[in-house]
């Protein structure tokens, strides 16, 4: 049985842990309530700037001292921005955990936020955003989310150029102050650790008790069903997405199985029909994407201009056919694939820490491995068909980037 550690600080901050036997590493994952959708309207991209600025000095260390302290412990760290969170994650050998938590508490709670360092963080965010034009695969999926999700949930996490340029150190520091409340943070740890010691340390650092006032959000659909961005590349990059119920509405496993039948492996329908039988592209794949309140199945394919229309048509046909029936052996392959992914995820301390933090946020609880495994094992093709008939794919949002516009025949 997997064991879940849970502790809540007095201010409401949640600490979660799942030990993994026989490993020497430990990973932790912070979810901070500073996702792209939760920020003020004229600050698109502030999350990317903040993610860099936090590491440019904290506590009594300047930028160089801070990075050197992290590096000397052999810590591998990352920051990421989603619609709902700014995440900060770190993996290391277990002996480095205690000093690592001290450093990351400084980074989150006592960043220096020096104005000269802000300019550099903002410049890097501008650079990254401009570089997106040289990466049409990423760009098409970012543009797709903007069209598909209601604003601000589809807002680009990389930012918008004029708004990035309009950010100031004062405005950005104010966002950090307003968002970084321990009471709204989720902390998850996985691997080799002593939970009591972690709790004592976290309590010491994160015990601040403050009143939290989130920015007000009024989600609004603004997107179009088809948008094309002309570019002179070799391929047309196609992004497509259709709505499904979000994870907390009870049909998560059925929908994961549906995505797996579509695209979970090399015998899945998209790979077989688009690539193997027709040779239309090299890369094609679908993914399940969910925020707390909105979810969709997205799909990417890249193909040369003359094949783009047929590629899109075949993909939509495969999405539409899914509700007509799933064979028993297709279902079994999807189930064993999902089960294997789950168990392998549990061998990685970093994946598991991110997984339990995400579960707690989206579901209000962490699912044990046994629970997930049982749910997957008990699925039947009829369950998936019933879910798809109850929540049919009604319309598709399509975005293309490339030398040729295509017409969506939905």
């Amino acid at each position: 049985m997997s064991k879940l550690d849970f502790y809540k600080l007095k201010n409401g901050m949640v600490l979660l842990g799942e030990p993994i036997d026989h490993v020497q590493s430990v990973s932790f994952h912070f979810l901070l309530p500073a996702g792209a959708a939760l920020l003020p309207n004229d600050c698109c991209g502030a999350g990317a700037v903040i993610g860099d600025w936090l590491f440019r000095g904290a506590g009594n260390r300047n930028s160089r001292q801070l990075i050197e302290a992290i590096d000397s412990l052999g810590i591998h760290w990352n920051t990421g921005v989603s619609a709902e969170h700014l995440s900060i994650s770190a993996s290391m050998e277990a002996d480095s955990l205690r000093p690592a938590l001290e450093l990351f508490a400084d980074i989150i709670l006592r960043p220096t936020m020096a104005p000269d360092q802000f300019e550099l963080s903002r410049q890097l965010a501008v650079n990254e955003l401009q570089g997106l034009d040289d990466d049409p695969r990423d760009k098409v999926m970012i543009a797709l989310k903007e069209q598909f999700f209601p604003d601000p949930y589809g807002r680009s996490t990389m930012g918008e150029l004029t708004q990035l340029r309009g950010l100031t150190p004062e405005k950005t520091a104010a966002i950090i102050k307003q968002c970084f409340h321990p009471s709204q943070m989720i902390f998850a740890i996985s691997g080799k650790y002593d939970f009591d010691a972690v709790c004592r340390q976290m309590e010491q650092f994160f015990n601040g008790d403050t009143s939290y006032e989130p920015f007000v959000i009024n989600p609004e659909y603004k997107g179009q069903s088809y948008v094309h961005y002309p570019s002179g590349g070799a391929q047309v990059h196609i992004g497509l997405m259709t709505a499904i119920p979000p994870i907390n509405q009870g049909c998560y496993y059925e929908l994961m199985a549906a995505v797996s039948v579509l695209s979970g492996s090399m015998s899945s329908r998209l790979f077989t029909e688009v690539r193997e039988k027709r040779g239309l592209c090299y890369a094609v794949g679908a993914r399940y994407r969910s925020t707390k309140d909105y979810a969709g199945i997205s799909c990417y394919a890249g193909t040369t201009p003359d094949k783009a229309q047929e590629t899109l048509d075949v993909i939509i046909e495969q999405f539409n056919q899914l509700k007509n029936g799933i064979a028993e052996d297709e279902m079994q392959r999807a189930q064993v694939g999902l089960k294997t992914s789950l168990i392998m995820q549990c061998e990685s301390t970093a994946s598991r820490a991110a997984g339990i933090a995400g579960d707690h946020y989206l579901l209000g609880r962490v699912r044990g491995i046994e629970e997930i495994r049982d749910k997957i094992a008990n699925l039947k093709p009829a369950d998936v068909e019933k879910t798809l008939q109850k929540h049919p794919f009604e319309k598709y949002t399509v975005v293309t980037i490339g030398p040729k516009e295509i017409i969506s025949n939905q």
Binding site: D71, E119, G131, E276, I343
Partner: protein, 408 residues
């Protein structure tokens, strides 16, 4: 962890690192072949062949192959480099035997003409996809520039023309000697039964005929040429710098790898403080790639085109400083800690460990445990790094640039 080794009479090597506590197992065939083993007449055949290996055997269709792996829940795929083609699958322990036997079957494929013709479309799409990824394009063309006529500069993908002209017959001929059992290593990691694996291999692979599969290992230093390709569709400048490094057979490869980390790791490196921290470039990295009888340090930098000259000046000054003053003990200690923790994390998953295990054998015909790898990294001294810098002179490099700028 326990290491196991066996060789069949036809030369097929079977190696395994058994860890009964692991939750999964991984298996792979390592074929000692890649772009450097191709003539220009068959440029791209190694990679195309890798795709064709999934098309089945006389008794299995392509769809049946994919379905068979998927029934085992296998995370399976393959990759081709300049000198290796690797087929792998990660599975839960109860499926390892079946996954291994499936790979054994697939190592003797049909290579049917109709599959070949259909897959040619996919290869051409893959070439088009990489044309839209300037980072890949800069690295690929930079490599070709650095190696000049040396076979390590051969393109893995080939070109539209070479792929269009390739015939199934040419591929079958290439396969017949490059995939001989004496040029293959079957490697396995994690929770599995080594004797069972050998039993399967004996049943399924002992009939394979050995053959000559030579490789040219000529010494090489690099052309040190400079080239700029202007592309008005791009908005950033993509730089690739290459200089000689040590081979996989060279005991200094740990020192070379640490030097790559000191100069070009994502954070806290010389490149980081000189280029990324001051926001002159959004990406600047350097790493050492040790190969069969050769080695290369790669740098990739992505930046605002207007910063290109300034960045090159800074890089030249940075290497001059390293050449004159060396690196500090603190830099070495930090790089060592980062490398060791990365190794710990990677080796906790059988799939992460498989590639190291297989390549060690392919290149050096020996086994190195994680503990030995750790010792190799720990034993590098400041003096080792200084001697390496003196010997390799990493500041003298081949320079390839791709972007909107017209550069001298």
């Amino acid at each position: 962890m326990e290491f196991k080794h066996r060789q069949l009479d036809n030369g097929l090597t079977i190696i395994g690192e058994v860890n009964p506590l692991a939750q999964s197992a991984s298996v792979g065939f390592f074929v000692r072949t890649g772009a450097r083993d191709e003539t220009s007449a068959v440029s791209g055949v190694s990679h195309f062949l890798e795709h064709m290996m999934f098309k089945g055997t006389d008794t299995l269709s392509a769809l049946e192959v994919n379905e068979s792996f998927d029934r085992l829940g296998a995370k399976f795929n393959a990759f081709t480099s300049e000198e290796n083609t690797v087929y792998y699958a990660a599975v839960l322990p109860e499926y390892l035997e079946q996954a291994s036997e499936l790979w054994m079957q697939l190592m003797r494929p049909s290579l049917r003409d109709d599959d070949f013709n259909m897959e040619k479309n996919v290869i051409l799409e893959e070439i088009a996809m990489y044309k839209d990824l300037p980072q890949f394009e800069a690295m690929d063309q930079g490599r070709a520039l650095h190696f000049g006529q040396h076979p390590c500069g051969n393109s893995v993908l080939g070109t539209n023309e070479s792929i269009a002209a390739l015939s199934a017959e040419q591929m079958r001929d290439y396969f017949s000697h490059r995939y001989a059992p004496n040029n293959l290593v079957l490697a396995c990691c994690g929770n599995f039964d080594f004797e069972g694996l050998c039993h399967s291999a004996n049943n399924k692979c002992s009939g394979w005929k050995s053959a000559e599969a030579p490789r040219i290992l000529s010494p090489f230093n690099g052309t040190f040429e400079k080239k700029n390709v202007q592309n008005g569709n791009l908005v950033r400048q993509h730089l690739c710098l290459l200089s000689p490094s040590v081979s996989m057979q060279d005991s200094r490869r740990y020192a070379a790898s640490l030097l790559g980390t000191i100069i070009g790791d994502d954070t806290g490196s010389r490149y980081y403080w000189a280029l990324v921290d001051p926001a002159l470039a959004e990406t600047a990295g350097m790493q050492c790639e040790s190969m069969d009888g050769a080695g290369v340090f790669y740098s990739y930098i992505c930046c605002n085109p207007d910063n290109t000259e300034k960045i090159l000046e800074i890089i030249n000054a940075l290497f001059q400083d390293i050449q004159n003053s060396g690196i500090s003990q603190a830099e070495l200690d930090t790089a060592r800690n980062k490398t060791l923790s990365a190794m710990t994390l990677r080796c906790e998953q059988p799939m992460g460990r498989l590639v190291n295990l297989g390549f060690n054998w392919v290149y050096n015909k020996n086994y190195r445990s994680v503990a030995q790898e750790v010792d190799g990294i720990k034993s590098v001294t400041l003096n080792d790094i200084s001697e390496l810098i003196e010997d390799l002179k990493p500041g003298k490099f081949t320079q390839f640039s791709l972007g909107p700028r017209e550069l001298a």
